[in-house]
Subunit: 293 residues, 2 copies
C-alpha cells in the first residue's frame, strides 16, 4: 500500500513539475516563486485522493495517466490558497512545509501574483488534459465550484469573519466544509469522474470525502494544540494566538479525538461496497487522522 | 452603432450580475466586495470585443446569448486583476473607476480573496455555459493561457521587475503584449470561437486584436500624462511617480500619438475582409484610441 501511494505521489510531482513554467524563462522571479510554492514539500493528500478514488472505481484496470491532470490541478489550487492564506494581511505565516513562505522568500507582490498564476495554471492543466471534452467540462465544473466564493474561498472568508468571535459547532463545521472540505471533496470527485464512476459510486465516495474533510480539519486543530513547529513544518499555536474558534476550543480535546474515531467509522461504512479496491482510500483516511503534521 | 454597443454592454452587465454570488448570503463581505469590484463602473471593453468579434463572423445571424458567458468570464478575469493590482503591495491605488478600490472600501484580506474568487468565477462561468463541450474546452484553453504566468500574470510580473529600470521599446512591447494585450486578444478569440470562425478569420482577427492591445496601452500611457483623476477615475501621473517605463517615456508623446494612428491603420487593414460586419470592431478600436479615461 505504502509503495502504491509513493508511486502516485511521484506521478503527481512529475505532473506538477511538467505543468509549472520554466524557471530559466522570464519572468523568472514569478516562475521560481511558483516552483517554490508547489515543489518544496507537501503531503500531496489531494492528488493521492484523485488516484485512490479512481482506483476504487476501476481497480488495476484504471489508467493512472488519465488522473495526472486532475491530480496536478487540485494540488495547484491547494498551493495557491496556501500562498495567499500565508500573506501578512491574511494569516501572516512565515513558515510553511518547513520552508519560508513565498512572501518571505520573495516578496508580497510576488506572492499575490504567484497565487494568481497557480490558480490559472490549475484550470489550464484541465484544459490541456487528454480527456473527452465532456470529461474536461465536468472536471472544470467540479474544481471551479469547489474553489470559489461558494467553496474554498468562501470558507476562508467565513474564517476571517469568525476570527475573534466565538462560533458554535454547526457554524464551525460549515466553515470548514467550505474552507478545507470542498477541495478534498473535489479531489475524490475528480478521480471518480475520470474513472467513469456511476452516480451511486459517486454518492458513496461523496459520503467518504465529506467525512474525510471534517476529520482532516479536526486533526489539524488537534495538531495546532499538540504539535510543534519542527514536526508541523509551520507555526504551532496560531489558532489560539489569533483567537480562532477550533474544534478543540469548541468541543474540547478528548471529544475532538472521539469525533475523529466516529468519522473513521463513517468512512469505513461508505467505502464498504468497494471492497479491497478502497484500500488506498482507507489508507489515506488513516493517514489524515494519524498524521503528525 | 452606439445603440448596438450599449445593448451589448447591458447584456454583459446582466450576465455579470447573474454570475456573481448573492450578497444577502454568507460570506456577505466577500460577496459584496465581488459586486463592488465588478459592477461599479468599467467600460466593458473586453466583453464588447467578444460580442463584436462574434458579430464580425456571423453578422445578424449570430446568437448574442451564446456570447454572454464568454463576455462575463473575460471581464471577471480583468476585474480580478485590477483588484490585486491595486493592492498596497502592488500598485497601491486608492481609486479605481472613480470609486474606492476594494482594499480601501473593505480591507486587504478581503481584496485578496475577492480577486481569487473572481478568477474562479470566470472559469466557473465557462463551465456552466450552454455550449458544446468542445467549445467550452476551447474557451477554457484560450482564457487560461491568456491569464496565467505566460499571459496577463506574467506581464504584471515583468512590469514589477521593470519598475525603477529603463527598458527599451521591444521589452516594453513584450511586457504589455502580456499584461494588457493577452486578455484583449483572448476576448476577440472567444467571440470568434463561439461564433464558429474559420482559421483564416481567426488569423485576421488576431492581427486586429494584437494591434488593439498595443494601442490600448499606448493610449493608457498618454492619458497617464495628459489626463486628470476626475476624468480618468483613477490616480493620474502614477507611472512617472513609480518610475515606470511607458511608451511616452520611451518614444515621446508625439511619436506615441503617431504610433496610435499606424495601429489604427493596421486594424483597419486586418478588418477589411469582414466588410460592414466589422463596424462594431472598428468602433471599439476608435473608442480605445480616442477615450479620455
Amino acid at each position: 500500500m505504502q509503495t502504491q501511494l509513493e508511486g502516485w505521489r511521484a506521478r503527481a510531482d512529475q505532473a506538477l513539475t511538467a505543468a509549472l513554467p520554466d524557471t530559466t524563462l522570464a519572468p523568472q522571479n514569478l516562475h521560481k516563486a511558483m516552483h517554490h510554492a508547489v515543489l518544496l514539500g507537501g503531503k500531496r493528500m489531494r492528488p493521492l485522493l484523485v488516484y485512490a478514488a479512481a482506483y476504487a472505481i476501476a481497480s488495476d484496470e484504471f489508467d493512472t495517466e488519465s488522473c495526472d491532470a486532475a491530480a496536478a490541478a487540485v494540488e495547484l489550487v491547494h498551493a495557491y490558497s496556501l500562498v495567499h492564506d500565508d500573506l501578512p494581511c491574511m494569516d501572516d505565516d512565515a513558515l510553511r512545509r518547513g520552508q519560508p513562505t513565498v512572501h518571505v522568500a520573495f516578496d508580497e507582490a510576488t506572492a499575490v501574483l504567484t497565487g494568481d498564476a497557480l490558480q490559472t495554471l490549475a484550470f489550464e492543466t484541465l484544459a490541456k488534459a487528454a480527456w473527452p471534452a465532456t470529461t474536461t467540462v465536468e472536471t472544470l465544473r467540479i474544481l471551479a465550484t469547489a474553489s470559489g466564493a461558494n467553496g474554498m474561498c468562501g470558507g476562508q472568508a467565513l474564517d476571517m469573519d469568525a476570527t475573534g468571535q466565538r462560533i458554535g459547532l454547526d457554524a464551525l463545521k460549515r466553515l470548514h466544509a467550505l474552507k478545507t472540505g470542498a477541495l478534498i471533496h473535489a479531489a475524490v470527485e475528480l478521480g471518480a469522474v475520470v474513472a467513469g464512476a456511476t452516480s451511486e459510486q459517486r454518492e458513496a465516495l461523496s459520503r467518504y470525502s465529506t467525512a474525510l474533510g471534517l476529520a482532516f480539519q479536526i486533526q489539524d486543530d488537534i495538531l495546532d494544540v499538540e504539535g510543534d513547529a519542527s514536526t508541523l513544518g509551520k507555526t504551532a499555536g496560531k489558532d489560539a494566538a489569533q483567537d480562532k474558534s477550533t474544534f478543540v476550543s469548541v468541543l474540547g480535546l478528548q471529544a475532538s479525538k472521539d469525533q475523529l474515531q466516529l468519522l473513521l467509522a463513517e468512512m469505513e461504512k461508505a467505502l464498504a461496497p468497494f471492497g479491497t479496491n478502497a484500500l488506498p482510500l482507507r489508507a489515506l483516511a488513516d493517514l489524515a487522522v494519524r498524521r503528525r503534521h
